[in-house]
Amino acid sequence: MKSQGAAAAATAGTGAVPATARGRRTGAPGGAGKRGDRGGARGTAGNGSNGQGPAGRRVRRQLVTSPWLFAAPGLAIVGVFILYPFVSTVVNSFTDKRQLIEGKYVGLANFRELLHDDMFWIGLRNSTLYVLVVVPALVVLPLLLALLVQKQIPGITFFRSAFYTPVVASIVVVGLIWVWMLDERGLVNAVLEAVGADKVGFLSDQWLLLFSAMAVTVWKGLGYYMIIYLAALANVPRELHEAAAVDGAGPVRRFLSVTVPAVRSTMVLVAALSSVAAFKVFSEVYLMAGPTGGPAGEDTTLVMLVQRTGTGLTGRVGYASAISVVIFVVTVALMLLVLRADRKEDA
C-alpha cells in the first residue's frame, strides 16, 4: 500500500517538474548540482555558469525534462511489473478472484480458510524448517571456507573460482545433477555400496528428500557467501591476530575471539540474505520432489503452493494471493528478527 503511494507521488511529480524547474532557474545558482557535501565546489562552478548568461540558461532548460526521461524506463518497468503486482496481490487476497473470473470482496475468508488448510500448514512447516536448517549452515560453513581460501598460497585463485562454480550454474542444472547423484542407483549410493554401507533412498522418503534439497541449497550457496566473507576477512586488523597469538591463543580460540567478532556484521548480513531466500525456496524442492511436492505432497513449500494454487485455468488467484501475503509478512518479520538480534548482541 505504501509503495503505491510512493509510485503515485513519483508520477504526480512528473507533471510538476516544468514549473518547479522554471522556478529554480531564477533561484540558487548551479541548479543541476548535487546537493550536499560538495557544496563548496558547486558554489564556485555555479557562479561561473551563472556568468555565462544565455548559454548556461539553455543548458539548464534541457535539464527540465531530461531527469524524467532518464528515469522513465526504469520507473515504468518497476511500477508496472513489481509494485503494481505487489499491490494487486495484497488487494486480491481479500477477494475470491480466479484466473479467468473477476472476484468480489470476501473480507478475511481466504485467511480463515488458510487456518484450516492442511497443505498450507505443511508448506509453512517446510519453509520454516528450511530457514532453521539452511541459515545456520550458510552462516558458518562459508566463513570456514573463506578462512581456508584466504591465505595466498599457490593456486588459491583456482580453488576460489572452482568453489564458486555452483553459484554460476542454473538451479535447474544443479537440481538435476543432484537428482542423479542421489538417485537410488546414483553415485552417492554406488559409493555407499562400495564401502559396504546400505543404500539410502534420498529421493523417496519425505524427510530425506527435504533434507537433501536443503543440502543442495547450501551446496549452491557456499561459494557466494564465501566471497562475501572473504571481503570481510580482508578488513580484520592483523594486529588483533598477532596480539592474540602472542597471548598464547590457539587457532580455535583466535577464531572465536578475534575473527568471529570482527566479521559479525557480515554474519548478520548473510543471515538476513539467506533466511529470506530460504523461506522463499521453490526450485530445489520442485525439481527434486517433483511438481506435487514428494510423497503425498508432504514436501510442498509455500512458494510451490502459491504456484500450484494460482496458475492454470481454474487457478484461485485470491487464495494464492493470501498465501503470498503470508510470505510477505514472514519475510519482513525475518528481516526484523535478524536485525534485532544484531542490535541485542551490540548491547
Binding site: S66, W68, V78, S170
Partner: protein, 306 residues
C-alpha cells in the same frame, strides 16, 4: 565492495612461486613462514572441498559421454567413460528442440543485458546526478521495488502479463526483470562515487546533460556496468520460476524450462538428461572462466545493497 574484488580476484603474488620447488617458503599475511604441515593440511582440505564442489559437475559430464552399452550404475562407479561418445547430445536434439531452446534463452538473456544496462544506467544517473523535484520519491520507488519478494507476486505478474496479451511469449519472460531495481541502485551508487567536479567543468563548458552522461559519466562506471551486464545475463539464463509460469507452449520454452520438461518426460534416461544439463551449464561456466573478477565483484556490490 572494492575489497571483495581485490581479495578475490588478485593472483598469488610472484614471491610465493618458489614454494613449488618443494621448499616451504609460503608465508601468511603476517610474513610468518607457514609450516609444512599446515600447508599440506590446507591443500588436503582444499582438494576435499574441490571434489565436493566440482565432482558433481564432472560426474554429470562423464555420464553424458557414456554410450548406451556402458553401465552407468556400476558399483564401484567408473568415473571415466570407457568409450566416450557424443551420441547422447544428438539424442537430446532429437528428443527436444534443444538448440531452439538455447536460442530462446540467448535472446532473453541478451535482451536482458541490453535493457538492464541502458535502463539502469539512465535511471541511476537521474537519481545520482540530476536535481529535480521528486528525486527522493523516485529513489524510494526503486528501494521499495527491491524489497518486494518476487516469488510472492508471480501470480499477479502473470495476470498483468495476460492482460497485456504477453503471456506465453519471450517478451513476457523478459519484461518483469528487464530493468531491475537493484541494478538501478547499483548504478546510482556508482555515479555518486564519481567526483562531481569533472562533470561540473563540462557543464560550465556548455555540455548538455546527454553529453555529460555519455562522454563523462558513463565511461567512468564501466566496471559497474560490466557487473550489471553479467548478472543480468546470468539471471536471465538461469531463471526458472518465472518462465515456468509464463510459458506454456513447448515451442517457446527457454533452456531451463526445456530441461525441466526433459527431466519430467525422460527421467529414467540419465544419459540424456545429463547431456541436456551440460548444454545448459557450459556457456555460463565459460563466461565465468573468462570474466571471473566481475562475478566476484558483483557479489560484493549486490550484497551491500541486497
Amino acid at each position: 565492495m572494492a575489497a571483495s574484488r581485490t581479495t578475490a580476484g588478485a593472483p598469488a603474488p610472484t614471491e610465493q612461486r618458489p614454494a613449488r620447488k618443494g621448499r616451504t617458503r609460503v608465508r601468511d599475511e603476517n610474513g610468518r613462514r607457514m609450516p609444512l604441515w599446515e600447508l599440506i593440511l590446507r591443500y588436503a582440505l582444499l582438494l576435499g572441498v574441490l571434489a565436493l564442489m566440482i565432482g558433481p559437475f564432472l560426474w554429470q559430464l562423464s555420464t553424458s559421454l557414456k554410450g548406451p552399452h556402458e553401465n552407468i550404475f556400476s558399483s564401484p562407479p567408473s568415473f571415466l567413460p570407457s568409450d566416450p561418445t557424443l551420441h547422447n547430445y544428438t539424442r537430446v536434439a532429437d528428443t527436444i528442440p534443444v538448440w531452439d531452446y538455447a536460442l530462446n534463452s540467448l535472446k532473453v538473456a541478451a535482451a536482458n543485458v541490453f535493457t538492464n544496462c541502458v535502463g539502469a544506467a539512465l535511471a541511476g544517473y537521474a537519481l545520482a546526478r540530476l536535481r529535480y523535484r521528486g528525486r527522493k520519491a523516485a529513489t524510494l520507488v526503486f528501494i521499495l521495488a527491491m524489497l518486494v519478494p518476487v516469488e510472492g507476486i508471480i501470480i499477479a505478474q502473470f495476470t498483468t502479463m495476460r492482460d497485456l496479451g504477453l503471456n506465453n511469449t519471450l517478451m513476457g519472460v523478459l519484461l518483469p526483470g528487464c530493468v531491475s531495481a537493484l541494478n538501478v541502485l547499483l548504478m546510482r551508487n556508482a555515479f555518486l562515487n564519481l567526483p562531481y567536479e569533472v562533470e561540473e567543468a563540462a557543464f560550465v563548458d556548455g555540455a548538455n546533460v546527454w553529453q555529460r552522461f555519455f562522454r563523462i559519466a558513463l565511461p567512468a562506471v564501466k566496471g559497474t556496468l560490466a557487473v550489471v551486464a553479467i548478472f543480468a545475463f546470468m539471471g536471465a539464463w538461469d531463471d526458472f520460476l518465472w518462465p515456468l509460469i509464463v510459458l506454456s507452449d513447448p515451442d517457446k520454452f527457454t533452456l531451463t524450462i526445456g530441461l525441466n520438461y526433459l527431466h519430467g518426460t525422460f527421467a529414467n534416461d540419465e544419459r540424456l538428461v545429463a547431456a541436456g544439463t551440460v548444454i545448459a551449464v557450459l556457456p555460463l561456466i565459460v563466461l565465468f572462466a573468462c570474466l571471473q573478477r566481475y562475478f566476484f565483484r558483483g557479489v560484493g556490490e549486490g550484497a551491500v545493497k541486497g
